[in-house]
């Protein structure tokens, strides 16, 4: 393969399969993407053009301020009147920045998006009325034909927005994957067999963008794995033309639970984190641990936040089925290490996990309810009202701690007794 590719030296389209072109843009000086991602050598916004007998399809566009480069590459290959279809695999602004202008220049082109993309499209284009523009929604196995070319859609939502989809060019075996299999890695050599070592960027991108959506990654892989794939063309980073299948395999590995290899699928994991200033909340945590341990089928882990770091704790939380936080109340608030951990969870999926809080306090004990509210905000379920104990726990109060841990563990394994009808007025 040619080692002479340098897309930064020209503004032409780059053909990488018969009639299939890269028409994207490089952004080598970007150092932070979307606030949350570091991009040590920038990124690229990949857009693609597919020529067929009956017309041309454009797949995704670029960030708005890179439009000029995108249009120059597009114009090097086709006239706007040839464009029959504009396919949007993902509507985030870094891929739709040039869309309004492209629609203006190619008014005959039809727009193809996923069902879930419709409200986002309207929010992006801000039409003055509902009939301001037309689009067609597509889903798995819908196809559009360019005569001798067929583009098939794969409904792959939540990778990493609700709207995301992939598009497969059947005749060439090219998967236009959107952000899936992408990375923020800018290299003028464009192809995975020519660019530098981008393994870190690939895994870092997965860890920050796809990781919260592992279940959806697995669902998408069920659609992607049976495809005959010759190349993967993502919206960021290198085009994966050499041994593309290994990136699919790698995604499956990254999305597979590692805890299930340790404790078995039948067992559930409860992780208890605590901080303690005078040892009272620590004492509570030990008893909660004791109570939960009495229930078969629940593996309990107890961690003092003072002795650990956020990163590994986030890994534990990701695979846990239930989380308990113990915090004293200091000046009307939970303590900072608790908030530090609870504000570091955007990279994992917490939806539906069970949560609970407990803590010792001296005066007013706000921490427990504040932690519960945060957990609800993170889409967790709080099955038991939190446990607050004033200063040093008595023997009876330690028994309450054991009962609290036991109740949470029972809830996890579905052993909770049928409860009587309760009145809303009795709820806290």
């Amino acid at each position: 393969m040619s080692n002479q590719i340098d897309v930064s030296s020209h503004r032409d389209a780059v053909e990488f399969a018969d009639g299939v072109y890269w028409i994207g843009a490089l952004d080598p000086t970007l150092r932070t993407f979307d606030i949350i991602l570091s991009t040590a050598n920038g990124t690229s916004y990949n857009s693609y053009l597919v020529k067929g007998q009956d017309g041309v399809a454009i797949i995704d566009t670029v960030k708005e301020n890179f439009s000029e480069e995108f249009f120059a590459r597009l114009e090097s290959e086709v006239d706007y009147k040839e464009i029959k279809a504009i396919i949007l695999n993902h509507l985030e602004p870094d891929h739709t920045g040039a869309l309004p202008e492209l629609m203006r220049r190619a008014p005959e082109a039809k727009l193809y998006i996923s069902q879930r993309a419709t409200s986002m499209l309207k929010a992006l284009l801000k039409p003055t009325s509902d009939d301001g523009f037309e689009y067609t929604t597509v889903t798995t196995d819908d196809r559009i034909s360019l005569g001798d070319r067929t583009l098939r859609f794969l409904h792959t939502p939540f990778l990493h927005w609700p709207d995301t989809q992939c598009t497969y060019l059947e005749e060439e075996g090219i998967l236009f994957s959107g952000d899936v299999f992408g990375c923020h890695y800018c290299d003028k050599r464009l192809f995975n067999d020519l660019v530098g070592d981008f393994r870190f960027s690939f895994d870092y991108y997965y860890a920050h963008i796809m990781r919260p959506f592992k279940k959806h990654v697995m669902d998408a892989l069920k659609l992607i794995e049976p495809l005959k794939i010759k190349q993967i063309a993502p919206t960021h980073g290198p085009i994966l033309r050499e041994r593309p299948r290994r990136y699919v395999t790698h995604y499956r590995e990254l999305s597979t639970s590692s805890l299930s290899r340790e404790i078995g699928v039948a067992e559930q994991s409860l992780v208890i984190f605590y901080m303690s200033s005078y040892g009272n909340t620590a004492r509570m945590a030990e008893e909660v641990n004791e109570g939960a341990n009495a229930i078969d089928g629940v593996r309990v882990s107890l961690y003092d936040l003072e002795g650990g770091e956020t990163g590994p704790f986030v890994d534990l939380i990701e695979e846990a089925d239930a989380l308990l936080f113990g915090s004293p109340t200091i000046n009307g608030d939970a303590v900072k290490p608790v908030w530090d951990l609870l504000s570091s969870l955007a990279v994992v999926n917490l939806k539906g996990k069970l949560g609970g809080a407990f803590g010792s306090y001296g005066w007013s004990g706000e921490a427990v309810a504040m932690i519960e509210d945060r957990m609800r905000g993170l889409k967790m379920r709080i099955p038991q009202q939190g446990l607050r104990i004033k200063l040093i726990p008595t023997e009876e109060e330690l028994e309450e701690c054991r009962a609290f841990g036991k109740a949470i563990a029972e809830e996890m394994v579905g052993k909770k007794q049928q409860k009587a009808v309760i009145d809303m007025a009795d709820l806290a």
């Binding site: 069902q115 879930r116 419709t118 409200s119 939806k351 539906g352 609800r376 889409k379 379920r381 709080i382 099955p383 038991q384 909770k416 049928q418 409860k419 009808v421 309760i422 009145d423 809303m424 709820l427 806290a428």
Partner: protein, 94 residues
């Protein structure tokens, strides 16, 4: 004040509520599995399935209908942040 019973099937819990209560108000307090995003009927996160008593919830608004459609809601699915309880019903997370 008129009362109604709502059952959250996932946690097998029934609650007596004043008629007119939104499902969100009670489901969070009781720790049911319906989860919430925007809490204002726009994102579709809190979609729930109504197993019984479909007619005992307030009618969905035009906006709720639109969000349900966009989120590919099934028959008898509603948004828990919008639906108000008028009579006995039974719901579970979708």
């Amino acid at each position: 004040m008129a009362k109604a019973k709502i059952t959250f099937q996932d946690i097998e819990q029934t609650v007596n509520v004043p008629a007119g209560t939104r499902v969100i108000e009670v489901s969070e307090k009781i720790g049911a599995g319906i989860i919430y995003g925007c809490r204002e009927g726009d994102c579709g996160t809190c979609m729930m399935h109504v197993e019984e008593g479909w007619n005992n919830l307030t009618e969905p608004s035009v906006l709720e209908e639109k969000v349900l459609k966009e989120n590919m809601a099934g028959r008898h699915d509603r948004l828990a942040c919008q639906a108000q309880i008028l009579g006995d019903c039974s719901v579970k997370p979708t």
